[in-house]
Amino acid sequence: MADLALASSEITYAGVTRTVSRITERKTSRAWYVAISITGSFVLALGAMLGYLFFTGIGVWGNNSPVGWAWDITNFVFWIGIGHAGTLISAILFLLRQRWRTSINRFAEAMTLFAVVCAGIYPLVHVGRPWRAYWLFPAPNAALDLWQNFRSPLLWDVFAVSTYGTVSLLFWYVGMLPDLATLRDRAVSRARRIVFGLLSLGWRGSARHWKHYEMAYLILAGLSTPLVISVHTIVSFDFAVSVIPGWHTTIFPPYFVAGAVFSGFAMVVTLMVVARKVFGLEHLVTIEHMDNMCKVMLATGSIVGYAYAVEFFTAFFSGNPYERFVFLNRATGPYAWAVWTMFTCNVFAPQLFWFKRIRRSIPVMFALSIVINVGMWFERFVIIVTSLHRDFLPSSWGYFRPTFVDILTFAGSFGLFLTLFLLFVRFLPMIAMSEVKALLTVGQASGLSTSPQSSPLAGDPSHGVIGEFETPEALLNAVRAARSKGFNKLDALTPFPIHGIDKAMGASRSKLGYFAAAMGFIGCASALLLQWWTGAKAYPLVIGGKPLFAFEFSIPITFELTVLAASFGAVFGMLALNGLPRLYHPVFNYRRIHAASDDRFLLVIENSDASFRAGEAGELLVSMGATNVEMVPE
């Protein structure tokens, strides 16, 4: 993949900062107000419908015997699936070194979070008594000392979705730290400076920061990859551990995951087509990016098609009359219209992406992405409703129809999703500036620099001496020169991580991995202990003929808690090793410190001991081509 095409060549570091930051800084447009009032009114509808539900009961939905799960779970799975693209883009494509992800990852990660919020609503309200929802969390409830049933995939879901939400939030936030610092440094108003100052935790872009940050990012990516797969796997277990034909099939886990990625990418495309047009991001999110996303949709859509085919084939192959009936009923029964909608939207429509012309036509891909979103909603509907509506006994056959409450709740969840999104694009940097900058390579000097320094340095060097460079290479040369002159206490402040700087500064590899591993071990051990002790010791109760404790059913929750704890280890370990949050630091006294989060590469020669030669340090910086060399007080 040619990197050149991934961000237009005329874009500079400062250009990236400006393009992305300005969106959050300029006056709120009228269109935004109009949009948020529309989406906001849907949120009100959602609130009204949920209120009605709470006061009346689940009967306001169309669910009825034999279809006890319908739109609620369909929408839950639909939203969770949408969320998967975010983590896929940020984690899996990162590990696969697919660098085109940088322009879209922040956007997709935000989408993940909001989708998880929307998804979480459904199981929460479906429990019947949502004010008792805390009973889902591992603590003995009521006076009975009852514990949760850890053998139930529904409880696995609670752990999976809450872990996923938490880790996605951490991933998103950690990834945003450098950009929040950029917004802080650009802030004009005091309010913005305080808000972004607090949010960025005092991020300075120091070489030490970047070292641990990059390691934290790598670990989070490594953890999120199996996590994102586990989430939809566990969602698929909700159905597949049962004995219902149409639900109980072993291909469900990977098939659900592929479908989730498929629908998630479709949603990214839908939103991105609009966002890049409205905010003028065509230079950062190029047609190349859109093309790649279409390819991902083609691949995942084909995997989903493979799974459909295998299911139909195996139903035939099994010779099991119930299996055969369910699939025949799907294709020809009362819900055949939904099934064929699903096939058309999910399998046939994306085949158009084989053609390059289609992958590069924004209107066509926009239309197709919506078609796929519709298709993936129908997929969940088909799986859930068609498998239930014809029970084993023909006397309990039925046909599900949604009520207006079902419909308005679903529409309201879209309103919530879009409202959160509008808030995000209005107030936060929607493109990862530091990551995009790291991809730009040539022709960066923007010509804004001041003339070379001539006046002798004055001031208090109690912290050290700082100078700024225009390119990473100049910075690296200066680091090497400083070390050869015996200045060993150096720090570099840069807008993105500079490769090779740790080596040049003589720093070791980050030890953050040990933090994460230790925490992961603790999470793993406590999850096993929790499930064994509650299930087999504290409250032994045979459920569904399952053993009181078995490794088979304890693996999902053990996995989730391991990942959760290890992610905490990585994020909080990174903050601890970096000494963050630290809102004040002497380098902030430097007049042009804001350049370090924009387009300049700052080198600090720190005052290491009594014999610190500030003058010599300053001369060295100037001789290496630094501008704006200054003494910085403690």
Binding site: A240, A309, E311, H499, F553
Partner: protein
Amino acid sequence: MTHPETYILDERAWTRGRNIIAALAAAGVAAAALGWQSNPRQFFASYLVAYVSFVLIALGGMFFVMLQHLTGSVWSVTMRRVMENVMVTVPLAAVLFIPVALGIPTLYEWSHHEFRSQDPVMAVKMTFFNPVFYLARTTAYIAVWTALALILYRNSVERKKAVWWSGPGLGALMITVTMASVDWLMSLEPHWYSTIFGVYVFSGGALAFVAALTLILLAFRRAGVLATAVTVEHYHDLGKWMFALTVFWAYIAFSQYLLIWYANIPEETIWFQHRLEGNWIYISGTLLMGRFMLPFLVLLARAPKRNLGVLGFMSVWMLAMHYLDLHWIVMPTVDRHGFHLHWLDLATFMAVGSLFALAFWYRLKGRALAPVGDPRLEQSLDFKNV
């Protein structure tokens, strides 16, 4: 940066290698033929395990070649020709299928007329389960693989576009491998079915291919070929793939096992029951420990993936586990007396393996072992993990 390597195995080394492999092949084939006469039942079962093991490695190679084309990956360009050489041994699968075809009455219960007519479930599956249709399907799979392998190989050597073929090719490969695993392996227990089975078999094959590729590259390295072209950085990436596929295989295996364990439907659990009875339970345990836990723990950290000794050992280990996995799938259906290794297991493994190796070896004669014309080769040679 200059890379003085010629990438061509010198004549003498090639001949020596050929002689060793040919000797192994002769011994293996002779022993296997002897076994065919003396103990046909054991022979056919052992042969099927060996056959599927090696075919899956070649197909794993095809999967990787197409994947590299589709993702435009740079790191793997130096070793792509070796991948292609493994892949292009696949036409041999046609000839080597003959013993399996002759073994149908021994291996597959469904081929017995009385079995089909007495079993009500089988009665509805008659159309699918008859030797003629079975052979026709197998012929189709091997024809697809052969065509794909030759096209991909030729396009790569002639530096034509291989990307175009890789997309549809990957789809065709997935479908044919799934169907082949249903026909060759799943139908050994004709009542049993599992929708994930094709993915399970294929994920194991892809993993075995990465192990085989690593071993081949390490052997070349020892012989002084591709020694500077495939650096520790490339091995590191191979180690990552080995790790990732180990986890993927475990994920698929766990999904299949958990869902069947949990639902507890007799017609499904019987398959695992056969593999947990008697001393088979130790083999199931060995697969859990040896095919997942050990490689997971060993390959998790960075250092072992960059240590060629460790990586070499893990490759041999993973290949052994690949064989054991297929043995565990096939043998309990043929032999109800528990796990035991028969000398015919070794003989068939040697015979099939060395014939595939010979096909691989003949491609190397006088040809470059790296895609020298690929414009991305230089970039790949300088590749570094960050």
